[in-house]
């Protein structure tokens, strides 16, 4: 619960009903076939299903192809600076817990330049959704190595191939104290993507979703295996996670994973033999930072009378 609500806001009778189109702004200018398009559609569907008021919903992003996301949403948007979507989101939520906040980040954005903020945002566990659109490359700046680029993958900055093994955003997140929701999904399986987003949205706390995203412009072959061969994918299923019943026919590899089991979650994240999608971990009992602000709101008059008492302490 936030610390107060505006009665004036409540007073305005509101019987609007929102359709998909109500959330659509400018025509998305990503490359044809770019995975960001699917994420956009899934998110718009989520907002429609949840009937979120466009004026009370905020998309915050950094800089990158994926960070263009807010421009295509007809909500409030904040297209900030590279790597810094999370501090901005934190500020918004601390001041306006009544707003629904979604942060959209690329892999360079979140895992490289914004890594410090990412780690701390996980720990703050503020009630919001963070989407990592992970295409394993820097798209906007034209194909430089990212922290998640597969080892050996050539890029413009590492033409000899990426030297280091990639960073694993899931293990990192699961390793941070106070992580409360960690999931992975892929943008080319819309129903799974949608179901995952929905779980993330309903989780009370910082919901981190890594979305594997195709970048046909620079890494056209990247997820080819996983797309063409369903056996490469393993579904983590659970009633408290994503059940993905509709996918039973396609993805046969299903593991019943209880998202309260962090040890299992970490093992699943660590093991790279499969592309494992679903809710890895969730725990709503973790403290949320915005709750530190659960304080009575004072009127200006009251504030000043408290301040006046403070001055007594300094009076001579």
């Amino acid at each position: 619960m936030s610390s107060a609500c505006s009665l004036l806001h409540l007073a305005e009778a509101d019987d609007r009903e929102f359709k998909m189109g109500d959330y659509e702004a400018a025509v998305a200018r990503w490359c044809p076939g770019c995975g960001d398009h699917s994420v956009l559609t899934a998110v718009q569907r989520l907002l429609t299903e949840e009937q979120l008021k466009p004026e009370d919903t905020v998309f915050v992003s950094g800089i990158g192809c994926s960070s263009r996301f807010p421009h295509y949403m007809k909500t409030y948007g904040f297209h900030g600076t590279h790597g810094r979507a999370l501090p901005i989101s934190t500020g918004i939520k601390l001041n306006r817990p009544d707003l629904e906040v979604f942060a959209v980040m690329g892999d360079g954005d979140c895992v490289s330049i914004g890594a410090g903020h990412w780690v701390h945002a996980i720990r703050y566990n503020i009630d919001m959704v963070a989407l990592l659109l992970d295409n394993n490359i820097y798209g906007l700046t034209k194909m430089q190595t990212s922290p998640t680029t597969p080892q050996g993958q050539k890029s413009n900055t590492q033409p000899q191939g990426s030297w280091l093994p990639p960073m694993n955003p899931l293990s990192v997140t699961l390793g941070v104290t106070n992580a409360s929701f960690v999931a992975q999904t892929v943008e080319w399986v819309p129903s799974h993507l949608f179901a995952t987003l929905k779980e993330a949205f309903h989780h009370k706390g910082f919901s981190f979703v890594r979305i594997l995203q195709r970048c046909p412009a620079y890494l056209p072959k990247l997820f080819e295996d996983a797309i063409t061969d369903p056996e490469r994918i393993e579904l983590l299923v659970h009633p408290d996670g994503v059940e993905a019943k509709d996918l039973e026919g396609v993805y046969k590899d299903r593991v019943y994973h209880d998202p309260t089991d962090i040890d299992a979650a970490r093992r699943f994240a660590e093991d790279q033999s499969k592309v494992r999608i679903g809710v890895y971990f969730r725990d709503e009992s973790r403290p949320r930072y915005e709750e530190t602000r659960h304080l009575p709101t004072l009127t200006a008059e009251e504030k000043l009378s408290v301040l006046d008492q403070e001055f007594d302490r300094y009076a001579v």
Binding site: S3, S6, H9, A25, A26, K53, P54, E55, D56, V58, F59, V60, I63, P70, H71, M73, K74, T75, Y76, G77, F78, H79, G80, T81, R84, L86, P87, I88, S89, T90, G91, I92, K93, L94, N95, R96, D98, L99, G116, H117, V119, H120, T292, R293, L295, P296, T297, L298, A300, E301, K303, L304, V306, L307, D308, E310, F311, Y314, A315, V316
Partner: protein, 638 residues
């Protein structure tokens, strides 16, 4: 500044139990220091002394003497810790030059002050004498060496058996000697003992009554000892200002000002000397429903403040030099996107880690221009502790009204100086009301700049119909990314215009002293008190000099060119680095100037000279006076 007034007869001195024939020196200002090893309570003694003096109606400026090391061993010059207190029969605006009286709890801390040239040539040194005849031979030798070293001055050294006297009352004089010293000072300056006792009771209000009683006993003992053994004292009359006052340091004043302005979210990362603002805020905000957010770094702190500001009431972030460097990109974003934001920089010595605890005014140009790209913003500099309080109220209002970043430049001098000012009469109009979330009228755009003023209505999340994506990319009135060649030119002009508009509402600054003359000294920020004191002293010497102090640095206050034209010479005085004109290789062409001097030259095409120092301490009025004498134009002495 002091006149000797030998007064015979106890009644004239006014002090209780003062011996006949006590010599009283009447002083307009008097500066006293108490120095000891850390942990001996010199600061508590000084704080109480300062508080009683303020209560008795004197002007007071107290500043801490901070040890150079964190945990120094005892009896080391680098460990000297304590306070300087300057009291006056007029308001005291700065820490002064050198001290008249010093109470030293050992010979080494005295040396520290001596070496820093902190004591007047004929200072009265009241020193604990237990070291002189100490059982440890090394200590005895150090005493001898120290006395030898200070003998080049004319100090009047009075050895006092503090330890011995305190032992009559307490077992461990290390805890308690400070209160005995307080008693002694109360005698010297004729302080009201009852006030002192009450102040002690207040200081120890959370401890057992015994502690207060014991300390009051020590106080009285120190007083009586002085009455019997010291045949002199000082008289510093009250100012005669009956208004109620409060006494605090500049950081406390900033914190209280932030609360009074209605800003209720501050984001910061600890950094000296700004941190203590957050210590006060952390506590204050608990009572006011605000939030102090200690972020993971200064970048995040700026981001959090921006996110908060954008979505509601103006928020602020507070830092010092190195932190300001990190906030650079975000400040640029706030300016580009026209998000109101208050950034407080409590300046310290730089660059890099620099002098973390020491004062400098070296961030002026960084505050004004420290952004890649064109990033106009408002920069203001409070000059007094009182202004630290009130500047926050104005800063918040201007930030919101002009949709801009307002930088508030304080410094370590204001942050650590403690001084009384008239108690503010609080006004609810200062407090920011929640932002306007009413629906956005059809057709209005998020940057519908008034073509004259560049101002536009803020669209805040929650306002129906105002949905848009704010972007740090160049954008048009609709917040759409600028693809059209002309938009960036227009948008830049609009952001810049706001400054011009604000400047047009500023009044020309007033000149302190005659409106024309040989020399005009120009300063900004915390140096005001010291500069004015020096300039007034110079005029008493017959020099034709006035001064002008700038509060708004961006936009600059109007009318400067005209004012400057009435003086033969204009000199800025600042605490930042400039080349000395006669140093090797330095020519008028390559000389690097004080930061305000750069700024003034660039803006008003006047040949402004400067005198600046980066000694890690506030400017001393005496040093400024010397500079004025040196910089006087030919034939300046009238």
């Amino acid at each position: 500044m002091e006149t000797k007034l030998p007064i015979v007869g106890a009644d004239a001195s006014g002090g209780k139990g003062s011996p006949k024939g006590r010599q009283i020196t009447q002083a307009k200002m008097s500066t006293v220091e108490i120095v000891s090893d850390p942990g001996e309570g010199a600061q508590k003694c000084a704080q109480i002394f300062g508080a009683i003096s303020a209560k008795m109606g004197n002007g007071v400026w107290t500043v801490e003497i901070i040890p150079a090391e964190i945990q120094p061993p005892p009896r080391l010059p680098a460990g000297a810790s304590g306070n300087r207190i300057r009291i006056g029969s007029v308001p005291v605006t700065n820490w002064g030059d050198r001290s008249k009286v010093v109470v030293a709890l050992n010979d080494q801390v005295l040396l520290a002050r001596h070496r820093l040239d902190a004591l007047e040539d004929d200072a009265i040194v009241l020193i604990e004498n237990m070291w002189k005849d100490h059982t440890d031979e090394d200590i005895r030798q150090q005493w001898v060496d120290a006395m030898e070293e200070v003998s080049d001055r004319n100090y009047r050294i009075i050895e006092i058996p503090m330890e011995e006297e305190c032992l009559k009352i307490v077992d461990n004089p290390r805890r308690g000697k400070n209160m005995w010293v307080l008693g002694l000072l109360c005698y010297l300056y004729d302080r009201d003992l009852e006030l002192a006792a009450a102040q002690i009771a207040d200081t120890f209000r959370k401890k057992a009554q015994e502690i207060t009683d014991r300390n009051v006993e020590l106080l009285n003992a120190g007083f009586s000892w002085a009455a019997e053994n010291l045949g002199f004292g000082f008289e510093v009359r009250p100012i005669g200002d009956d208004r109620p006052h409060v006494v605090m340091n500049g950081n406390e004043a900033l914190a209280m000002g932030a609360v009074a302005s209605g800003m209720d979210l501050a984001a910061m990362y600890p950094i000296t000397p700004a941190t203590s603002v957050s210590h006060h805020l952390g506590e204050e905000f608990l009572k006011f429903g605000g939030l102090l957010h200690q972020a993971e770094d200064e970048i995040a702190a700026a981001g959090v403040a921006i996110g908060a500001s954008w979505s509601g009431k103006c928020a602020f972030t507070i830092t010092s030099g190195p932190g300001l460097a990190l906030k650079t990109e975000f400040i640029g974003l706030a300016i580009m996107t026209e998000i109101p934001l208050v950034v407080v920089d409590v300046q310290r010595g730089g660059p890099s880690t620099g002098l973390p605890t020491k004062v400098e005014q070296s961030d002026l140009l960084a505050a004004l221009y420290g952004q890649p790209g064109d990033a106009p913003r408002v920069v203001i500099a409070p000059a007094t502790i009182e202004e630290c309080f009130y500047s926050m109220i104005t800063a918040r209002k201007i930030a919101e009204a002009f949709r801009t970043v307002v930088m508030v430049l304080s410094d370590a001098n204001l942050a650590t100086g403690v001084s009384p000012f008239p108690r503010p009469e609080l006004d609810p109009s200062w407090v920011a009301a929640p932002p306007d979330l009413s629906p956005i009228p059809e057709g209005l755009r998020p940057y519908d700049w008034d073509p004259q003023t560049g101002l536009s209505r803020r669209f805040i999340p929650g306002s129906p119909g105002g949905m848009h994506t704010l972007t740090g990319l160049a954008h048009d009135e609709g917040s759409k990314v600028a693809y059209d060649s002309e938009i960036n030119q227009r948008a830049s002009a609009m952001r810049s215009r706001k400054l011009a508009v604000f400047q047009s509402t500023l009044k020309p600054p007033s000149v302190n002293g005659p409106e024309e003359g040989d020399m005009l000294v120009v300063g900004w920020g915390s140096t005001k008190g010291a500069i004015e004191e020096a300039v007034e002293e110079a005029r008493e010497e017959g020099l034709s000099v006035s001064n002008l102090h700038l509060t708004f640095l961006s936009p600059l206050e109007p009318g400067l060119k005209e004012i400057f034209s009435r003086f033969k010479k204009v000199v800025t005085i600042e605490i930042n680095y400039s080349d000395e004109p006669d140093d090797p290789y330095i020519t008028p062409e390559n000389r690097r100037l004080g930061q305000l001097a750069w700024l003034l030259r660039a803006h008003i095409l006047v040949d402004v000279d400067c005198w600046t120092r980066v000694l890690g301490e506030p400017l001393r009025p005496g040093a400024i006076l010397n500079a004025i004498r040196e910089k006087m134009p030919e034939g300046g002495v009238s």
